[in-house]
């Protein structure tokens, strides 16, 4: 008895192969679609923004006159914000990661913290904005200053740093720790002198990626009440401030009234994308260059 009818197989072969090739083309086109949109988006932003982009735009303060408006305030605000976010999120993130990987006993508490962190990562950023508004801006009465915004942002990107640091610490091989213990080092000495130096490239990559997320986030700070008004340039972490994405937001909204604002928004996007691109490149370079393979 024959299990396979050769004639039948032959007959269907053509359409099966055709379906396969059709699907392959379709899948390829779907992949290209995303990239095509990316290309159009970048082209549009450049086409709209390059005309307004000059030294004056970078160094001028905000103005209602599109000709004279600049983003110096937003650039300084973004820098001050990062000056708060970077150390806070690094200390909290790396500390949490060390605790979870090196100190916590496998058990309820550890898995509770772990689950909590992955759930925090899924909380919409606008809800973090409400947290910041309620706790930092109103309950602690900080108002819409750099410190309040920075702490809110630091909590928002914390899961990114924790997860990246955990992966980096986990990839440090056990024999390095054992060698350290074998020479009489204590647990903390081992962590400080062996584990952390070996995992620092991974941790730094995570921190940079977290910062680049923070630089682009808009919603929490809009909720916090960060204005795009003519305020003095921020000179420290206790000053009121604005940042690049918030500036883009208000200019885009107002472009319905004053068409030139759309170009200003596009020019600001160009700056923002350049900063993000530079940060991501640094992260990739660190990852490739300093990552030791054990």
């Amino acid at each position: 008895m024959k299990y396979i009818d050769a004639a039948q197989v032959q007959k269907k072969m053509g359409s099966r192969l055709f379906a396969n090739n059709l699907a392959k083309t379709l899948f390829f086109l779907a992949t290209l679609f995303g990239l095509l949109v990316l290309a159009v988006l970048i082209y549009r932003v450049l086409a709209d923004g390059l005309g307004s982009l000059n030294m004056g735009f970078l160094t001028n303060r905000l103005s209602t006159d599109p000709e004279r408006a600049g983003i110096m305030g937003a650039i300084l605000g973004t820098l001050w914000l990062m000056l708060v976010v970077a150390p806070v999120t690094m200390i909290l993130g790396v500390g949490t990661a060390i605790y979870l990987e090196e100190y916590a006993k496998k058990g309820r508490l550890q898995s509770f913290i772990q689950t909590n962190i992955s759930n925090l990562a899924g909380v919409p950023s606008v809800v973090f904005g409400i947290l910041g508004l309620t706790i930092f801006a109103r309950a602690l009465d900080l108002g819409s200053i750099v410190l309040a915004g920075g702490l809110t942002m630091a909590l928002l990107v914390l899961p990114v740093v924790v997860v990246a640091s955990q992966e980096a610490i986990r990839s440090v091989p056990q024999f390095l720790r054992e060698a350290s213990y074998g020479m009489g080092a204590t647990k903390w000495q081992t962590v400080k002198n062996v584990v952390l130096p070996a995992s620092i490239p991974g941790i730094l990559t995570g921190v940079i990626l977290a910062l680049s997320r923070a630089i682009g986030e808009t919603a929490p700070l809009v909720v916090l009440g960060i204005p795009a008004l003519l305020i003095p340039l921020p000179e420290g972490i206790f000053d009121r401030f604005t940042i690049l994405p918030v500036q883009i937001y208000y200019w885009t909204l107002d472009s319905a009234l004053v068409a030139e604002y759309a170009n200003l928004a596009a020019a600001t996007i160009v700056i923002l994308l350049i900063v993000l691109f530079a940060m991501n490149s640094i992260a990739i370079i660190i990852r490739n260059k300093f990552q030791k393979r054990f």
């Binding site: 197989v9 099966r16 192969l17 379906a19 396969n20 699907a23 392959k24 379709l26 899948f27 390829f28 779907a30 992949t31 995303g34 990239l35 949109v37 990316l38 988006l41 200390i91 909290l92 500390g95 949490t96 605790y99 979870l100 100190y103 913290i113 992955s118 925090l120 899924g122 909380v123 919409p124 950023s125 606008v126 809800v127 973090f128 904005g129 409400i130 947290l131 706790i135 909590l155 914390l158 899961p159 924790v162 204590t186 903390w188 680049s212 682009g216 986030e217 808009t218 919603a219 809009v222 909720v223 009440g225 994405p245 883009i248 937001y249 885009t252 472009s255 759309a262 928004a265 923002l272």
Partner: protein, 314 residues
């Protein structure tokens, strides 16, 4: 230590000194786990903080607006004398924009994942994947600008009735934003399917499409569905795209050519107007945020449940 000064050294003193520093190191060593636990507890405090702030003000809100009126009300007029707070306009806005986004993100994301995991050569994969990651790394405010200044005018040229702010355009752009997320999570799930299963099917004479559709996708289905659910959660929580491109109309409608407001956009609008603390408007912010939080939390837990419960282990 100080034998240069000529004093005779007592061994007992040296031991004492050594003990002192050892004692200090030991106490420090003992403190470390506590300090680190304190730092780790901040993430838990954040969750508690979110829950507490949302809960207390939401309770205040429901003292003034009945629970049922809020969840069944089709009218939302937060300003003025006779303010009405019905959340349904915001819920439909959120669900419709999410649905539009998923209509874009699910098929294209899944097809991209299949192409990268099953069809693309290793070299092509290594060029395409980072480019998709760029798409994922673009800030949402940029997508909002793109939806408002490019996609909406483009759509208006062949949908005449489309309003300058509408839910369709931000929905579509949100879908594009979520493609990389669905693609990369689904691809991870498919790449985890062992090659022996593919080879078994190929040896039986299946084409690549048949292998993909009948072997790889069913084997990876838990991860794929989880990626869809996470995509939905992301779309529900997305703020800036809708805040810019969908306007702030609070009409209860299902017409996608019209302006609608999502829960997230409402929060941005109300806080942007600096609602005075203690007013019903201010409390409504928290009630809406609580609803949003519950929605996304349920989605995230569902995704975790699916990928844990239905995972096929090989």
């Amino acid at each position: 230590m100080d034998h240069k000064s000529g004093k005779p050294i007592k061994v007992s003193e040296l031991i004492q000194e050594k003990k002192k520093s050892k004692n200090f190191n030991q106490t420090f060593e003992k403190l470390i786990p506590g300090i680190l636990l304190g730092i780790a507890a901040i993430s838990i405090l954040t969750t508690i903080g979110i829950l507490l702030t949302l809960l207390t003000e939401t309770i205040n809100f429901f003292r003034e607006v009945p629970f049922l009126d809020f969840f069944t009300g089709t009218q939302l007029k937060p300003l003025g004398e006779n303010a009405v707070f019905g959340v349904l306009p915001l819920l439909t806005g959120t669900l419709i924009s999410t649905a539009i986004a998923m209509v874009v993100a699910i098929p294209i994301g899944l097809m991209t994942a299949v192409f990268l995991s099953e069809y693309a050569s290793e070299k092509l994969r290594r060029t395409l994947k980072p480019m998709l990651e760029v798409l994922a790394g673009i800030p949402t405010i940029v997508y909002g600008f793109f939806a408002f200044t490019f996609v909406t005018p483009l759509l208006r040229s062949f949908i005449p009735g489309l309003e300058p702010t509408n839910i369709l355009s931000p929905g579509l752009v949100m879908g594009i934003m979520i493609i990389p997320m669905v693609a990369s999570l689904s691809e991870d799930a498919m790449s985890a399917v062992p090659n022996t299963m593919r080879e078994g099917a190929l040896a039986l004479g299946a084409t690549k499409l048949e292998v993909t559709w009948k072997v790889v996708v069913p084997a990876a289905i838990s991860g794929i569905i989880a990626s869809f659910v996470l995509g939905i959660s992301r779309a529900i929580g997305e703020t800036m795209i809708v805040a810019i491109a969908s306007g702030s109309s609070k009409n209860f409608t299902f017409d996608v050519t019209q302006s609608m407001q999502t829960m997230t956009a409402y929060i941005v609008e109300v806080t942007g107007g600096e609602a005075a603390a203690g007013t019903t408007l201010y409390y409504s912010l928290y009630a809406v945020a609580m609803t949003l939080f519950v929605f996304t939390l349920v989605m995230n837990l569902l995704a975790q449940y699916i990928s844990r419960k239905f995972r096929e282990e090989y």
